[in-house]
């Protein structure tokens, strides 16, 4: 037998895994987490009284919860090397149709409705989100239209459909019960809406990192042809991923209803871009095949913390998008240089 300078697998003890610390520092996620930590620490050092106020934190979390749910779905989509521009419009559509459905079954005003109506509203929101997601998925995987174009189409179409539903106005009459529990309610000081978002995020993280569904998501994004050749149903999987993103957008619409006590038809035009920015900031590669839900969590909070922090320390809030833009471009640039270095071998 020839001796090699490299060690063969058999001679390496215990599955020769890379040490945990090395694996962690090699991942983008850790660095993004550190950036977030530094931001919080900096703002905290400047104005500890304002930042660590319970209400500030509660509000920050609650506002971010909806975006977080959208971004979890977006993480899956981007890992398949796709994109979903429609999430904000789908959210609006789901939110409007859910509010109208709840009103309809309560004789026009659902303000005093009970849990049955609320459950029905949740179902309507989730299903209408799922239908848009399914439509996106089928057009992308079967008709082979690029995701950018398909979801640009549904971005407009879902928004238009939402406006048509109620003639372009917001829908009020959200059940008080819903608002009191999930909208403004808290558990141990944590807003309930945040708990919902956290549970969704945790499930999303598990789905992505521990299951076959997650593995196929990475495989399809990493090399679609390779996935096809090992017998993975690439079309089916892509459909499911966009379906997931749509469903989560539907849920996010319902959460918005609970929080704002009204289904608003405006103000979500840039949700898609915010979600994409969060996912990419979190170290998920826009080229597919790489990424994590944990990273997305950090990515969601960086712009939110910047915004709140800049306001609190008295910097004009107009600096916030500029600061986010710089971090975002830097993140993608880093990802790209790393890829290029790797692909040259």
């Amino acid at each position: 037998m020839t001796t090699d300078e490299k060690t063969t697998l058999s001679t390496l003890p215990d599955e020769q895994r890379t040490p945990l610390l090395k694996r962690l520092t090699g991942a983008n996620t850790l660095w993004i987490g550190l950036v977030l930590l530094v931001l919080v620490a900096t703002f905290g050092a400047i104005r500890p009284d304002a930042i660590f106020q319970v209400t500030t934190l509660q509000f920050l979390l609650a506002e971010t919860a909806v975006l977080l749910v959208l971004s979890v779905g977006m993480t899956f989509v981007i890992i398949t090397s796709g994109i979903d521009l429609s999430v904000g419009s789908v959210l609006v559509f789901a939110s409007v149709s859910s509010a109208m459905a709840m009103n309809a079954v309560s004789g026009g005003d659902a303000t005093n409705a009970g849990w049955g109506v609320i459950a029905f509203g949740l179902l309507v929101a989730v299903v209408s989100g799922a239908v848009w997601g399914l439509l996106n998925g089928l057009l992308i995987s079967r008709a082979k239209i690029p995701p950018l174009i398909v979801t640009l189409g549904s971005f407009g179409a879902a928004q238009g459909a939402a406006l048509l539903l109620n003639n372009g106005s917001n829908v009020s009459g959200i059940p008080d019960k819903l608002n009191r529990t999930f909208g403004s309610g808290t558990y141990l000081g944590i807003p309930n809406i945040v708990i919902v978002a956290a549970v969704v995020t945790a499930l999303g993280a598990l789905l992505l990192s521990t299951t076959r569904f997650g593995r196929y998501t990475y495989a399809v994004g990493s090399n679609e042809e390779a996935a096809r050749r090992v017998g993975i149903s690439v079309r089916g999987h892509l459909t499911k991923v966009y379906l997931l993103a749509g469903t989560l957008a539907g849920l996010a619409g319902f959460m918005g209803n609970a929080f704002f006590r009204v289904a608003v038809v405006t103000g979500h035009e840039t949700d898609n871009l915010n979600a994409i920015a969060a996912v990419v900031l979190g170290g998920t590669s826009i080229f597919g095949g790489m990424g994590s839900v944990l990273g997305t969590v950090f990515g969601v909070f960086i712009p939110a913390v910047l915004e709140k922090g800049l306001v609190i320390i008295g910097v004009k809030e107009f600096w916030q998008p500029i600061a986010v833009a710089i971090v975002l471009v830097a993140a993608v640039w880093l990802d790209q240089t790393r890829r290029r270095a790797r692909n040259q071998r």
Binding site: N223, I232, G289
Partner: protein
């Protein structure tokens, strides 16, 4: 001779106006090593893709164990025990070697977790490590993405993956192209070992001495057609090159 394991008759494959195959035939017998050789662009990779269900031939027929066969997807070939090392390797660069080896055949955790689709990563890593050792893939670490490996290591992983799952036939499209001397010898060893287990190996290679040393038979493809077949023991490099370039033709080969 015994009945062919896999036989292709008069396959054609058009990509738009390009005729990649123009009536190509091919035969593989059980438990043999048969080399498929030909110049660049002769249609070898296209033939392999048609025979592993990745591409559908424009016309022509396939037989497996004497029965007519339609390979409408990669899965139907895999179900028959046919595995392939593609020329472009077809690995997912962002996944680690173990994940690539089990891609499409993941091991799930036992019980409820398995029903939920939860992967048994530990079992897969362990089995993959054993397997890579047995088939001589030299890797420093089993949990780095494939993209971080050298070209030759990637090729070794692809070879190890194919022989791990094949039960009847393995296609290897230039499996030694990027390999160093030691790894090349290992792959040739692997080919012989697989053959000795009764699995047929179809080797595509541009290295004639390698072809002659490892094969039982050689089939030659030229311009999308089979132009010659030889027993490896009674041919020579000169004869093979002659057949590939068209200097020599066999009447009955097509």
């Amino acid at each position: 001779m015994s009945q062919p394991l896999l036989e292709a008759r008069d396959l054609t494959k058009n990509y738009g106006t390009v005729e990649a195959l123009r009536g190509a035939s091919f035969t593989a017998y059980p438990g043999e090593v048969v080399s498929l050789i030909g110049d660049n662009g002769a249609g070898k990779s296209t033939l392999v893709k048609c025979l592993s269900g990745v591409e559908q031939p424009t016309s022509g027929t396939l037989f497996f164990d004497g029965e007519p066969l339609v390979l409408d997807s990669p899965n139907s070939a895999r179900d028959l025990g046919i595995e392939t090392v593609f020329q472009d390797l077809a690995v997912a660069p962002d996944l680690d070697p173990a994940a690539n080896m089990f891609l499409g055949r993941e091991i799930l955790k036992p019980g409820v977790l398995g029903l939920l689709g939860v992967l048994d990563k530990k079992a897969m890593r362990r089995q993959a490590a054993e397997h890579f050792t047995r088939f001589g893939a030299t890797l420093q670490s089993i949990d780095v993405p494939i993209a971080a490996l050298s070209g030759g290591q990637r090729q070794s992983v692809a070879v190890a993956r194919s022989v791990a799952w094949a039960s009847k036939l393995v296609f290897m499209d230039e499996p030694t192209a990027a390999l160093g001397v030691v790894q090349r010898e290992r792959v040739l060893e692997v080919i012989k070992r697989v053959r000795d287990e009764g699995i047929a190996v179809v080797l595509i290679s541009h290295n004639m001495p390698e072809v002659l040393s490892v094969s039982d038979r050689v089939e030659v493809l030229r311009l999308g057609r089979r132009v010659a077949r030889f027993k490896a023991s009674d041919t020579s490099v000169e004869e093979l090159v002659g057949a590939m370039t068209g200097a020599l033709t066999q009447e009955d080969a097509a």
